[in-house]
Symmetry: C2
Subunit: 381 residues, 2 copies
C-alpha cells in the first residue's frame, strides 16, 4: 500500500446555525480545505462525505456549487464515527492507488433536523432502548462503575468538562468559549446521575474537511504533509453486558491496530483528540488508548498530564463538550485538528513540537454491542 498524507484541512464555525443548510456548511469546510491544500477543485478525483441525520447524496450536494462532478462520490454513515469512516474510505482509495487525491467531509445540521437531538422511540428490536438505555444512561452506568472500581468521583468527571472548556475557550471555532468551575459543572441540571448537563456534549451544526493525497501528489502541493501512519475501523463486541464496562473493547482494538500499523507505541503520542460526548468516558479512553496503565485513568487526569501544558494534552480543541459535536463532522474535525497540531498551526492550544498525534472516535451502540464503529487514526509529521 502507498503512503497517504493530509495536505489540507478546513472547518466551519461550530454552533447553532439553523439558517445555513448542511450543504452550505459542508461547502465552507470543503473550500477551506481545498484552499489550504493549494489545489483546484478540479484536481479532486474522489469525494467521500458523511452525514448521519437526513443524509441524501451529501457529497454531491456539497460539490455541485464548487464545480466538482464526473468523479466517484460516496456517502458514508457510521454514527459518530461517520466522519472518520469517510476519511478512512478515502485513505484506502489513495493507499490502494484507485485515486491520487481526494477530499473527505463530515457535516451535520442538527438544529434543522427533524430527527437529531429529538427523543426517538427505540426500534422494536431494541430491548435495551425500550427499557430506557439511552446514550446518557449508558454512559452514566459506566461512570457509576468507574466510581466503584477506579475510585473516580463526580468531581473527577466534572474536571474533564472543566478541562475541555479551558481548551475550548481558546478555540475561535468552538460552540462554547466559556470557562466553568467544577462547582458550576456539578451544579448544572442532572441528566443521568452522575452526569450533569455540562458533562454532555451539545447539539451542534458544523462541518470539517480534509484533503488526502499520495506521496507524489502531496509533495507537489505541501511543504509539510502529515502522514496517516495508522488507520483502523472496527465494530465492537456483541455483548455490552460484560463483566467490565470500564473498557470499550472496540476502541481498544482500533487503537492497537492503528499503533501496530504506524509502528508507534502509546508513549510516542504527543497529542490526542477523542470522543468525549460524555465527560466520564474520557477516563475510559485514556486506558483503552494505552495513555496510562489499566486502572490509572483517574490518576492520569488528576496529574494534569492531559491538560493544557501537560505531557499528553487530550482534546486541546475543546473536544465534543466545548467545541461541539456535529456528529459526522467530529470524526473529520479530530483528524484535521491533529494535522494542525503536527503542522504547528494550532494557535493558542499548540502542543510544543508535536510529532505524533492520535484521533479517535466512537460511534453508535446497537443493542447488545459495545460500540458499533470505533475508529483510530495515528498521524505523524
Amino acid at each position: 500500500m502507498r503512503e497517504v498524507f493530509v495536505i489540507g484541512t478546513g472547518q466551519s464555525d461550530f454552533g447553532k446555525t439553523p439558517e445555513r443548510s448542511a450543504a452550505q456548511l459542508g461547502r465552507e469546510a470543503a473550500l477551506e480545505a481545498i484552499e489550504d491544500a493549494g489545489i483546484r477543485p478540479a484536481d479532486l478525483q474522489g469525494v467521500f462525505s458523511s452525514r448521519v441525520f437526513d443524509a441524501m447524496v451529501t457529497s454531491q450536494s456539497i460539490m455541485k456549487d464548487i464545480g466538482v462532478a464526473r468523479i466517484e462520490m460516496v456517502n458514508v454513515e457510521n454514527a459518530c464515527s461517520g466522519g472518520a469512516t469517510a476519511v478512512r474510505s478515502l485513505y484506502k482509495d489513495v493507499a490502494a492507488g484507485f485515486i491520487d487525491i481526494g477530499i473527505a467531509i463530515g457535516v451535520e445540521s442538527m438544529t434543522t433536523s427533524p430527527v437529531a437531538g429529538k427523543l426517538i422511540p427505540p426500534d422494536k428490536d431494541d430491548l435495551d432502548g425500550q427499557m430506557g438505555l439511552t446514550m446518557p444512561v449508558l454512559f452514566a452506568l459506566q461512570a457509576r462503575r468507574l466510581m466503584e472500581t477506579h475510585g473516580a468521583t463526580p468531581e473527577d468527571f466534572a474536571q474533564v468538562s472543566v478541562k475541555a472548556h479551558d481548551f475550548g475557550a481558546l478555540n475561535p471555532r468552538a460552540q462554547y468559549r466559556k470557562r466553568f468551575t467544577v462547582e458550576e459543572v456539578l451544579g448544572s441540571r442532572m441528566i443521568a446521575d452522575p452526569i450533569t448537563l455540562l458533562q454532555c456534549c451539545p447539539n451542534t451544526d458544523g462541518a470539517a474537511a480534509v484533503v488526502l493525497a499520495s506521496a507524489e501528489v502531496a509533495q507537489r502541493y505541501s511543504d509539510l504533509p502529515i502522514r496517516i501512519a495508522g488507520s483502523a475501523l472496527v465494530s465492537g463486541e456483541q455483548d455490552f453486558r460484560r463483566p467490565d464496562v470500564t473498557s470499550m473493547p472496540a476502541g481498544q482494538r482500533a487503537a492497537q491496530l492503528a499503533y501496530e500499523q504506524a509502528g508507534v507505541s502509546p508513549s510516542d503520542v504527543d497529542v490526542v483528540e477523542l470522543h468525549d460526548a460524555f465527560a466520564s468516558e474520557e477516563i475510559v479512553h485514556y486506558e483503552d488508548l494505552g495513555l496510562c496503565e489499566r486502572g490509572e485513568g483517574v490518576d492520569l487526569l488528576r496529574s494534569g498530564a492531559t491538560s493544557l501544558g501537560g505531557r499528553i494534552p487530550v482534546n486541546p480543541s475543546g473536544g465534543l463538550l466545548s467545541l461541539g459535536h456535529p456528529l459526522a463532522a467530529s470524526g473529520v474535525r479530530t483528524i484535521a485538528d491533529i494535522t494542525n497540531q503536527l503542522r504547528g498551526r494550532a494557535g493558542d492550544v499548540q502542543v510544543p513540537d508535536a510529532r505524533v498525534g492520535l484521533a479517535q472516535m466512537l460511534g453508535g451502540v446497537v443493542n447488545g454491542m459495545d460500540v458499533a464503529a470505533a475508529s483510530v487514526h495515528v498521524l505523524t509529521r
Copy 2:
C-alpha cells in the same frame, strides 16, 4: 489489483411488509447469501451496507444477530445507487487486498419510514425542487422529449411496463406478479404526462446481499464464482438543463468505464438489469449502455430484443417496475440477479447460456446535476 468474485447471493421477498424491521429484512438477505456462499458468518472480514432512509449503523444492526462483530463495518448512501456503492466499496477492499472476503447488503423499509415515499419539501437551496421538479416530473420531461426526438409514443413507454410485468410475473420474489396490457398501463392514473401510475416503480420493503471474495477464497467455496470484471461509480454532469436530455451522461460514462475495465463491448452483453424507476427511461438507458445506436432505443424495444426470449433481455427480474424498488436494496439485487443469470440459476427467466451480464443503477438528482451517482458493474462467468 486482484480479481474479485461473487460467491453468494441472497434476497428477501420484495413487497410491503411493515411488520418487519429493516434489520430483519437485511438479516434474511444476508443469511441467505452466507448460506449460498457456503461460508460461516465468522469468515466475513468486512461488511458494507446501504440504507437510504432512516439509516443508522445498518451493517451492525443486521450483523449483531448473525454473530458477526470485531471487523470493519461501513454504511454507505448514494440514493438509488446506494446498494451498488456498497458492493463497489467491498469490491475495492477485496481488489486492493485489505480483506479477502466480505458481504454487501442493501435494505430499505419504505412502508415504516417517516420519510420515504412522502412528499418531502425540497431543500431551500433546491430551486428546481421549489418549482415542482420532482422525480416523476423530471422523467416526464425526458419522456416528452423522447416523443419529439425519437418518435417514441405513449404506447412504447407502456410497453416497457408490460414487459417488466411479464418478467415479474415469473419471479417468486416480486412485489407484483401480475401481467398488464398496454391499454391497462395507459389507463391507469396519470402521474406526470405521459407517465401513468403503472409506469412508476412502487414503494417497496426488501433487502438483498452478495458475498464477494478474492480468487483464492472464491475457489475454496464456489464451483462457479462469477467475476466482477468491471466496476464504475461516477457522479453526473452539473447541468441537467443541457440541449439533449435524452441521454444521461453519468450512466453513459459509468458504462464506458466498466466496459473498458472488463474488456468487453456492449455487443458481448447477454443480459442486463437496469434502473427502470419510470418506464420511459429504459429507452434512454438502452442507448447510454450502447445496447443499440444513439436514436435507436425505441426500435430496440419494438423489436422485442429486450423481452423474454429476445437477443438481450433487459430486467428479466421484473425490474423496479414489477419486482419493486426498495431503494438501497436495488443496487445489490441487480448484481445478485445478474450473478444468478450467469450461474444458470434464474429459473423461469433464465437467459440461455448467459456469459456476460451488466447491472446498472442510477441514484439521485441534485439540482443542477444529471445524476448524483451512476453505477455500472459488468459480470462475467
